[in-house]
């Protein structure tokens, strides 16, 4: 009986007061399609393949990303371009298999592959999730265009010659 009285006289009014206070609090619901969530700066979304400032792709098809990938979702085949550089002929990321761990980004010695902030790439067909090299480069172009609109044209990435020592066979820039 005493237990019952403390419930009625003390506990229930405290509970009611708590819920009443919460009525006036700001809802924490995010009305998603209208309001986008605040992503963490380290958010890992859809991949992109970066380019140098002259528009050439950074990837040299070394295969380290594919080796680092725990989900085995990266496939690539190399070729040699007219300047004798090793580039990717085929570079495929299967976004269905990908677990967005970011190991490819860490493994990449050329700073070519990154995980972007795009997360709204749901599609109706599974084959549409096989991202080819062109699609991944397009992702980069889109991001770069947005960045230039926002921040103006400025170089944030080093050009390729900051990375390697120039050698006579390196291509037109050395001539």
């Amino acid at each position: 009986m005493a237990n019952f009285l403390t419930t009625v006289i003390k506990a229930i009014p405290i509970g009611l007061a708590t819920t009443f206070k919460n009525i006036f609090k700001k809802p924490i619901t995010l009305e998603y399609p209208d309001v986008k969530p605040d992503l963490s700066p380290r958010y890992r979304g859809l991949h992109y393949l970066a380019r140098y400032d002259d528009g050439e792709e950074r990837c040299v098809c070394c295969g380290l990303c594919a080796a680092a990938c725990p989900a085995n979702c990266i496939y690539m085949e190399p070729y040699e371009n007219e300047r004798g550089e090793r580039k990717a002929k085929i570079y495929i990321i299967n976004e269905i298999r990908c677990i967005f761990c970011g190991y490819c980004e860490e493994a990449c010695p050329e700073e070519a592959i990154f995980l972007g902030r795009e997360f709204e790439f749901a599609k109706y067909n599974i084959p549409d999730f096989i991202y080819t090299k062109d699609m991944l480069l397009d992702n980069f172009d889109k991001i770069e265009k947005e960045r230039r609109v926002k921040e103006g044209h400025k170089f944030i990435r080093k050009t390729r010659f900051d990375f390697r020592s120039p050698t006579p066979t390196m291509g037109p820039d050395d001539v």
């Binding site: 019952f4 229930i12 509970g15 009611l16 708590t18 819920t19 009443f20 919460n22 009525i23 006036f24 609090k25 700001k26 809802p27 924490i28 619901t29 009305e31």
Partner: protein
């Protein structure tokens, strides 16, 4: 009773019925919004500005749903049960005076459909019919969970109706009348409200009213976490909607009754009586939702113990105390 009286009654019935149905529709939205606010959510706000067309969208959805009849169900009783629950909920409002009487064309028009001299008895009688719908619906579904829900509802209603009736006795002893209109007239100022003359009786009545309407914390008949959906598990489409309309109509009716019996009905200064009535009813509707957003469900044994060992003795004590005070 001449023709004009009959027309007048029909008009009153239509207006009150229409108003009640509108309130039932918007009570669903109100409850969802308020519970959402309590839980720091937003609630339905997509259909129309601020979600005000949500009840219409819900109605269209429910009307176009498939009407499932479970195998082995008793078809007639299964179809009849929602109606049996719904109609008594609407009937109770008939004796509640919503406003002061009006003199129009030399005629005294009372703002109540039927000013019975046994209004409170009528409410108690009619509201107990509503239980049959739940029990029959649960039984006719030919399914375990609805049956358990129906049985629980039976036990709960029997336990709490006793205390509800007895809680009202104290009020009736002071008021000396069963007529709702007369009871409102006796509460002409705020000090004369029966809630101050019958505080214990009011608390008991409010608790029993919660139990009678199957609301949290007394929603054992439909206990989602234990009985799937309780008595309405097998129901779908408009029959399901009917059970819920009955529940909301019950809440509104009970709020109106509490307002009338304990909070002076339409009495109040400055504002027109109907506004006062709606404000008071609105407060109790809010309180119902508020309690829903706060309290967990009773355990079955707690429910029974609370009903028989606490509410009933307190109701009897209330009668005793009222009697003593009246004699003094």
């Amino acid at each position: 009773m001449d023709t004009l009286d009959i027309i007048l009654t029909i008009v009153k019935v239509l207006v009150i019925f229409g108003g009640l149905m509108l309130m039932v529709a918007y009570m669903t939205l109100f409850e969802r919004r308020v519970v959402a606010w309590i839980q720091n959510r937003i609630g339905p706000n997509r259909v129309g500005p601020n979600g005000i067309l949500q009840p219409i969208a819900d109605a269209i959805k429910l009307l176009t749903k498939e009407d499932v009849l479970p195998a082995g169900a008793n078809k007639i009783i299964f179809s009849l049960a929602p109606t049996i629950t719904f109609i008594p909920a609407l009937l109770t409002i008939a004796v509640v005076p919503v406003s002061s009487s009006l003199t129009l064309f030399g005629r005294n028009i009372t703002m109540v459909i039927s000013d019975m001299n046994i209004g409170i008895l009528y409410i108690l009688a009619v509201s107990s019919i509503g239980v049959y719908g739940i029990i029959l619906g649960g039984w006719a579904s030919n399914s375990k969970y609805p049956l358990l829900g129906g049985i629980r509802s039976t036990a709960q209603m029997i336990s709490y109706e006793v205390s509800m009736g007895l809680a009202l006795v104290g009020l009736l002893m002071i008021a000396g009348t069963f007529s709702m209109t007369e009871i409102v007239n006796q509460q002409s100022s705020i000090i004369k409200w029966f809630v101050f003359r019958q505080p214990l009786g009011f608390i008991l009545f409010a608790i029993c009213a919660l139990a009678e309407t199957n609301r949290i914390p007394f929603d054992l008949p439909e206990a989602e976490s234990e009985l799937v959906g309780g008595y309405n598990t097998e129901y779908s489409s408009m029959k399901f909607a009917m059970f819920f309309m009955a529940e909301y109509a019950h809440i509104i009716a009970v709020s109106a009754i509490i307002t009338t019996l304990y909070f002076g009905g339409w009495q109040g200064p400055i504002l027109p009586p109907i506004i006062w009535f709606l404000i008071k009813v609105g407060f109790f509707l809010f309180a119902f939702v508020w309690i829903r957003g706060t309290l967990p469900r009773f355990r079955y044994d707690q429910l029974m113990r609370f009903g028989w060992l606490i509410l009933l003795p307190l109701a009897l004590l209330n009668i005793l105390l009222t009697g003593i005070f009246m004699v003094l």
